[in-house]
Symmetry: D2
Subunit: 342 residues, 4 copies
Amino acid sequence: MLKVSIIGATGYAGAELLAILHRHPQVDIAHITSESNTGKEISELYPHFAGIYDMKLESLSDIEKIGADSDFIFIALPHGHAMDVGKKLEKLPVRIIDLGADYRFADTKIYETWYNVEHTHRNAQRVYGLAEIYREDIRTAKIIGNAGCFTTASILALAPLVRHHLIDVGTIIVDAASGVSGAGRSLKLGNHFAELYDNFKAYNVAKHRHTPEIEQALEDLSGEKIVISFTPHLVPMSRGILATCYAKIKDTRTIDAAFQKMYGNEKFIRLLGRGAYPETKFVRGSNYCDIGWHIDERTNRVIVLSAIDNLVKGAAGQAVQNFNIAAGFDEDTALDVVPLYP
Amino acid sequence: MLKVSIIGATGYAGAELLAILHRHPQVDIAHITSESNTGKEISELYPHFAGIYDMKLESLSDIEKIGADSDFIFIALPHGHAMDVGKKLEKLPVRIIDLGADYRFADTKIYETWYNVEHTHRNAQRVYGLAEIYREDIRTAKIIGNAGCFTTASILALAPLVRHHLIDVGTIIVDAASGVSGAGRSLKLGNHFAELYDNFKAYNVAKHRHTPEIEQALEDLSGEKIVISFTPHLVPMSRGILATCYAKIKDTRTIDAAFQKMYGNEKFIRLLGRGAYPETKFVRGSNYCDIGWHIDERTNRVIVLSAIDNLVKGAAGQAVQNFNIAAGFDEDTALDVVPLYP
Amino acid sequence: MLKVSIIGATGYAGAELLAILHRHPQVDIAHITSESNTGKEISELYPHFAGIYDMKLESLSDIEKIGADSDFIFIALPHGHAMDVGKKLEKLPVRIIDLGADYRFADTKIYETWYNVEHTHRNAQRVYGLAEIYREDIRTAKIIGNAGCFTTASILALAPLVRHHLIDVGTIIVDAASGVSGAGRSLKLGNHFAELYDNFKAYNVAKHRHTPEIEQALEDLSGEKIVISFTPHLVPMSRGILATCYAKIKDTRTIDAAFQKMYGNEKFIRLLGRGAYPETKFVRGSNYCDIGWHIDERTNRVIVLSAIDNLVKGAAGQAVQNFNIAAGFDEDTALDVVPLYP
Amino acid sequence: MLKVSIIGATGYAGAELLAILHRHPQVDIAHITSESNTGKEISELYPHFAGIYDMKLESLSDIEKIGADSDFIFIALPHGHAMDVGKKLEKLPVRIIDLGADYRFADTKIYETWYNVEHTHRNAQRVYGLAEIYREDIRTAKIIGNAGCFTTASILALAPLVRHHLIDVGTIIVDAASGVSGAGRSLKLGNHFAELYDNFKAYNVAKHRHTPEIEQALEDLSGEKIVISFTPHLVPMSRGILATCYAKIKDTRTIDAAFQKMYGNEKFIRLLGRGAYPETKFVRGSNYCDIGWHIDERTNRVIVLSAIDNLVKGAAGQAVQNFNIAAGFDEDTALDVVPLYP
């Protein structure tokens, strides 16, 4: 049994982690923290945990003790806070999986530019936490910077095409849509039920912070400098991301093969095939990323569609997948679930 | 390993059964059937099963062979069809859990009156499949008539009060609301998304078929003849039932104790307590029934609120709970899941 | 042209008032106020008004001037604030329609008990603003205490039965459900989209403040003391209220006639008839109250169903209806709209 | 007063037409037709019309008589049927506004290719019914081929940029999303509430029939051959379309001016400005098209966002706007309504 703690357990990603780890046969939860709700039981904040978890939320003020008690720590804090935790735990054997952005960038200057925060842990031993691409590095990493939600859907959709140089990378556009849980549990007018119901909108056009994260992974795969357009939209639903990705085709013939080659043995990627339409509901509650693609001969573009559950493959599920890899467990331990449908 | 078959696997309850049984360590799926989709793979009809189930749907025309191959058969057919299956399997050792109404009534005349169908298997050895009340009978039953969705929520809410004669049974009113999956997957205008979205309505007032089923269980508990008012409503959501139950109080003092006594050791009943508000989302995807109750001193009424997932505790989860009891497994095998939230 | 001002224009009811009054051929908007957004244009807060209204929000600090400028003032403030405004305008000729609770009760002690606030304007000349019952008094009232949303649906459903003594008033139960806009635009966790989506719950059981308001009107109609049970529920939708009302029948034969007699000539009440099912979507955006009723011979209960749009007939539309009566206009001026469907 | 008939009044667009025309002071409805519901009252099919419309649905079998009785005929039939009606009415003075696709294309071969139907009325005197671009032709046209829903949002978003040659037309991508009412009232599994709720998906990638319609209008504006990528998505909501349009910029400096120049005086286009985010709910129930645009300097792309109500500016509202122009009324007669919010 490994001892695992969750720093920032009361956001949606933290709660999803708790839900997933409840199924994990080799995990004991050591500590869960929340600064704003220290001392409360998690089930006071999330009544769906009633009778399942009755642990009390602690403060992270004594993070060194938490670190000493834990084999692995998951961090689900707003960006800018994980690097403080990471730095304090640098000398301890505990390994870290950060669900935020602090450890996602190889080049911390990119982070600083897009997040407008000074990076205070630049030399951290870290790896980008997207198993389908960086699996080998994840096995031994001290710190895993878990991939973001939009980025996971976007990178997985485009990776085979970029790796095999089948598209003109200067023409990539990712148009994506997410359910509201991606915006977190904090209150704002845009997430008020009455405002969002029967409503659809774009946001953060040309400036969403997942843009450079997608570019970084695609550059790793292609070896080329890549600049993309990324547009997020908000869908009046709880969970799910669909990414619709466009690019001009350089070589049509091997597109199907490229997907098959890269993902044929991946447990969590379901290739629905050419002409198929992933739907977010078909992956709801699961760690799957469903992918379909379309060749438009009129425009010589490929359109790749990918669907994930933003809280699972886009956050907590991916974190547990990374944890399983890092800890040497079967990659699908605790993740082998059927999507909840309808 | 037990061999299990599902007759009528392509409705929502059948699909939910498949999803739950995927988690069951002691079950092999032997056959799944669908008359309208014979020969197709289940994942063609339910793409969320892609990569999980690739079994082909068979016809139930050779039900005797299916019965001979199976230790247990779950039936998820429209009412009126299960009794044919049950009759044909009468001599085989296979045991049956019917998710429909055919085997729910001790007095088949009540069934015939409310369902307007002749009952053709009156002498079947059967038990009503609501474990919290009929657990001992379920252990050995040949046929289990799995309790309905509204009925489960209603009976569980009222059972402690009726058993201990704490309310005036002539004043019972159950006002309940269900998500749309309760109406099944077949198409009708009232379930068209555009018609139901941003909409709320009652239906089948004073004539819903779950009424006599509730009455039967309450009569069993109280020993009195009981006639209730039951009103179902349709909520623009996928899953979930909330029952709001009213009755005049005869004895206030022991109400809390009655709930505690009856359900204190029940795995799937979460007593949220007096003054508490169950929400359907807190049980979504799980087999829990959450219960809260309120004493209104102005009117001398008790109002009991209970929430279930109509497809789990209201259908497939309850069926697996009954199966576990009948087969001698731990009652929560395959059912020990955290609700999907948010 | 009459000059009309709105005190508290930035809540949902205030905004709906603006939307309705835009259609009114005999109204000029003189002032609109908001204390938290003074100086802003209304379309900054509600972009759907872009190009329609560009007025600036004022403070109500100089309410006497606003009162002097206006023929009518609509107040859409939280309870407890309207009575201050009403008192300050007592000597001016301006007439007042308050959408809140301050002027709804003939007996201010009831208000003080349920709202936990001292009433500071007890002797105000006021009338309860539900036109179908109090029309004649509304014509000349100085202050109209506009009926609440749940109360409107509940009273209109039960009024004919109570007036004609066709039911046992000791058995009345109103079980009602509302869309989220009824909870207003302020932020709270329960109204967060992700929390409420695919969710249904009751709230304020046995203590909702609309209870004594319903009782007051029913007592006026019947001449008897009446105590009812009232339970509100929250539906994951924007707009709409459905009230499901139960009572034991004293005289079945004249129920249909009672509805016809009381409402046969009412413009805004649509009698769908015995056995009919009102749906909230069929009245969305309109001032209609749709009513259907059911006789349950098994239980000797009548179940009356009524549907309104909580922001229109339950708030702003009713206020304009009252205004039209008070000002001598046709009662449906600005209210003669087709519901928005689907 | 003009006499107006609606051929195919029982789809969502036909019903919306009836709702809008109810507000039109110079219109009498002469006939409404439905082949599948001949003889029924419209309010049997759409109870929201109860007390508003009690007309009976007729057959279109005697279309010549209907034509002779009418000054204008709106056709809301599935594609392929309007051209029969149009042909039969060719010699009558009645003017026609077709909400379907039959009369949208100047080149009927394009229609035949994309709709897979032979065009039987090729020489019809017709104009494309998008007032902001073809207003002058609409005034006198015999037949107006009302613009489609996705096309209206897409064309209006891109028109100023294309007309003034500010973008590279070879790089245009339109990624759009629609509420479910756009798919009509007929039943199919994909529109079943339980299937679509909490779900998001693309459909008809690279083959949606609105593609050539968008191209036709953009070619008219630019004088160049244009081939675009168009991808529709289905949003779990009733009404609304958001189009997110991408193109490489040729000249950034005059983009703002181009929008202002083309739309500055348009009643139904609200320019929210550079950096703004239209939301579908801000136009719900209204004939507005809200537009915002964003310049992405990293990629040298412009992203234009436009929002409409698919049943109003995308169908029935636009039809009435065209009717007003053709009949010589103020263009906003019956269309001067505030969007329904929230």
